[in-house]
């Protein structure tokens, strides 16, 4: 910034600037504490015993015991198969992430690269349906899956990810800024087929977009509670096990094992937190991009 502006402001605003800075840091630190305190308690509580009243500020020594109890047959009979819940959650999240990212890129590629009559209409259609919440068609979706005999199956939680309008939109945006059509032209001249061009030349260029959208769709599926609750009954994803735990606290507090439950919550959020902390820079940039750049 120009130096002149600084000089003018300096004489009058030095003290007020300092005060504003102190206020800003105080508020920020307070927010950091509010945001992190619940997770701190969660980790502490995961090391505590079965009955937990009140707050403890430091770790206890019950962690290994909680681990043992979480995976034993008693916990299984009460909350469902703990191992399997991680398996189902991972299977559903990984596959729906892969499907939505790949097919959204393919769709965006089609509309970005080719010239055809319905191109504009297809693009507008996808933009419009981006606003339709899944909840509005959930009843019809549930009844349809029931008719197909797909209730309590993971298929209805995976296959629909092929059509992900929001991911399409991001991919389209990314291609406009980073996919020069000359590359496609060059591949054609070299005799590369259209499908192969997409798979072996375009996909590598899209890697950064894949990473950002991949994380978002994976996390979205991992955290999803509404759809699995609608479709699954005997199989349980992580949020459904959490629901079983919640029911036990509400209905049968004497037998509820708080240490086990807190440990399970830690394990449920841990993978996402680790990935987030490693990639937070890119994730935050991705959100900001989504907000403004047009």
């Amino acid at each position: 910034m120009p130096r002149s502006a600084d000089v003018v402001g300096e004489s009058t605003g030095q003290t007020s600037l300092l005060i504003r800075r102190i206020i800003a840091y105080t508020v920020l630190v307070a927010l950091v504490i509010i945001s992190l305190f619940p997770f701190y308690l969660l980790i502490i509580n995961a090391t505590r015993g079965k009955v937990q009243s009140g707050i403890e500020w430091w770790f206890s020594d019950n962690l290994s015991n909680n681990f043992k109890n979480l995976f034993d047959s008693d916990a299984r009979s009460r909350y469902g198969n703990i191992f399997a819940s991680f398996g189902y959650s991972f299977l559903i999240s990984a596959l729906s992430c892969a499907l939505s990212v790949y097919f959204s890129a393919l769709t965006a590629y089609s509309i970005h690269v080719y010239d055809f009559k319905l191109k504009k209409a297809a693009h507008t259609f996808i933009l419009l349906v981006m606003m339709v919440p899944t909840q509005a068609s959930a009843l019809g979706f549930y009844r349809l899956m029931k008719n197909f005999g797909l209730l309590d199956s993971v298929i209805p939680l995976i296959i629909p990810s092929i059509a992900a309008p929001a991911v399409y939109f991001f991919m389209k945006q990314y291609m406009e800024s980073s996919l020069p059509l000359e590359i496609v032209e060059a591949a054609r001249i070299d005799g590369c087929g259209e499908f192969r061009t997409f798979n072996s030349i375009v996909l590598p260029i899209l890697k950064p977009a894949f990473a950002v959208q991949g994380i978002f769709t994976f996390v979205g599926a991992w955290n999803n509670y509404f759809m699995p609750r609608m479709i699954l009954s005997s199989k349980k994803t992580i949020p459904l096990v959490l629901q079983a735990m919640k029911s036990e606290i509400a209905g049968n507090p004497q037998v509820a094992d708080a240490g086990v439950m807190n440990l399970y919550m830690v394990l449920a959020i841990l993978p996402v937190v680790v990935v987030y902390l490693i990639l937070s820079k890119y994730i935050i940039r991705g959100i900001a991009l989504g907000a403004v750049k047009g």
């Binding site: 992190l36 009140g54 097919f103 339709v132 629909p160 449920a268």
Partner: protein
């Protein structure tokens, strides 16, 4: 780019097939079916004992009934309006602090004179709750806020505060969780908007001796109005879909006196029984979302001449 000799148009269509087929089967057909259900007098008596010789004996489908389901849902007997009211109240409890805090933080983070340090750290921490499973955060808060939970110990020295057993306490907890989960996201969006403002505006305001408060109300707010409107409307769309948090905090009774029952819960609860009336409620959710969606599009395109990027509705 157009090649006259070879037409590649066919590939364009081929590559669109997976998306559109999947969308047709898993979104369009269910939506049409939901609209169809909404005008049927269609119930399933789930209380009836199953009959192995006639599995459909408990299905009561009297066919087309016009707008009766809608009339019922909007009448005082139907719960739609009450649940919509609950949803709106809980949304407001979370949204008001969210927009205020986010605006303040966004202004601070972008202030060229304030020059805050460790911004990356702060942003990472305040956005963190957004990536964490809503059901896990809710269960955690539930265990903290129930009778004899940590909050009781902290605030009331061991006696029973039992905040989740009171109407406004329970709503407050849900609103607070929504706030914690979303203020980081809103801050980052508003920051991006503020950084898009020409810095020379701020510099000349500074030379003219404008105070930070004046700059905020006279420059920042007017220029980020479209993004503010966008944040407001998308948050409303997200609020309308609220389910996980109130369901975990409220349980089967949906909170004290049903005060946490949101509109989406009606769908989840009635999907096997009250098919006609749940259909009508889904259609109303669709209509409200559509209106909000078009408002978003309008706000975004009015201010830039070209359509801007949209984020998916919040869950």
């Amino acid at each position: 780019m157009k090649k006259k000799s070879i037409s590649y148009a066919k590939w364009g269509y081929i590559f669109l097939i997976p998306f559109f087929v999947a969308y047709l089967i898993f979104a369009v057909v269910p939506l049409v079916q939901t609209f169809y259900f909404s005008v049927l007098d269609y119930k399933v008596d789930t209380g009836m004992a199953p009959d192995i010789f006639n599995p459909d004996a408990n299905v009561i489908n009297k066919g087309f009934c016009g707008l009766d389901n809608f009339k019922f849902a909007l009448s005082s007997e139907g719960e739609f309006l009450r649940c919509l009211g609950n949803t709106a109240i809980i949304w407001l409890i979370g949204f008001i602090p969210q927009i205020v805090v986010s605006l303040i933080l966004a202004v601070w983070f972008t202030d060229i004179r304030l020059k805050l340090k460790a911004q990356g750290f702060f942003k990472t921490v305040i956005y963190l709750p957004n990536v964490i499973m809503a059901s896990a955060i809710s269960l955690l808060f539930y265990t903290l806020c129930i009778r004899n939970g940590a909050l009781d110990t902290l605030l009331n020295k061991g006696s029973d505060l039992a905040i989740t057993e009171k109407v406004w306490g329970a709503r407050g907890v849900v609103g607070f969780i929504n706030f914690i989960m979303w203020y980081g996201n809103t801050t980052i969006m508003l920051m991006a908007a503020i950084m898009g403002i020409d810095t020379s505006l701020y510099e000349s305001a500074q030379i003219d001796g404008a105070s930070p408060t004046q700059t905020f109300w006279k420059i920042t707010i007017p220029l980020i109005k479209p993004i503010l409107a966008y944040v407001l409307i998308t948050s409303m769309i997200g609020g309308l879909q609220m389910f996980d948090v109130p369901q975990f905090i409220g349980g089967n009774q949906a909170g004290p006196k049903g005060s946490l029952k949101t509109v989406v819960m009606i769908i989840q609860n009635g999907k096997d029984s009250a098919i006609g009336s749940v259909g009508a409620i889904s259609v109303m959710i669709f209509i409200i979302s559509a209106i909000l969606g078009f408002l978003t599009l309008k706000v975004m395109s009015d201010n830039s001449g070209k359509p801007k990027k949209k984020k998916p509705a919040r869950k």
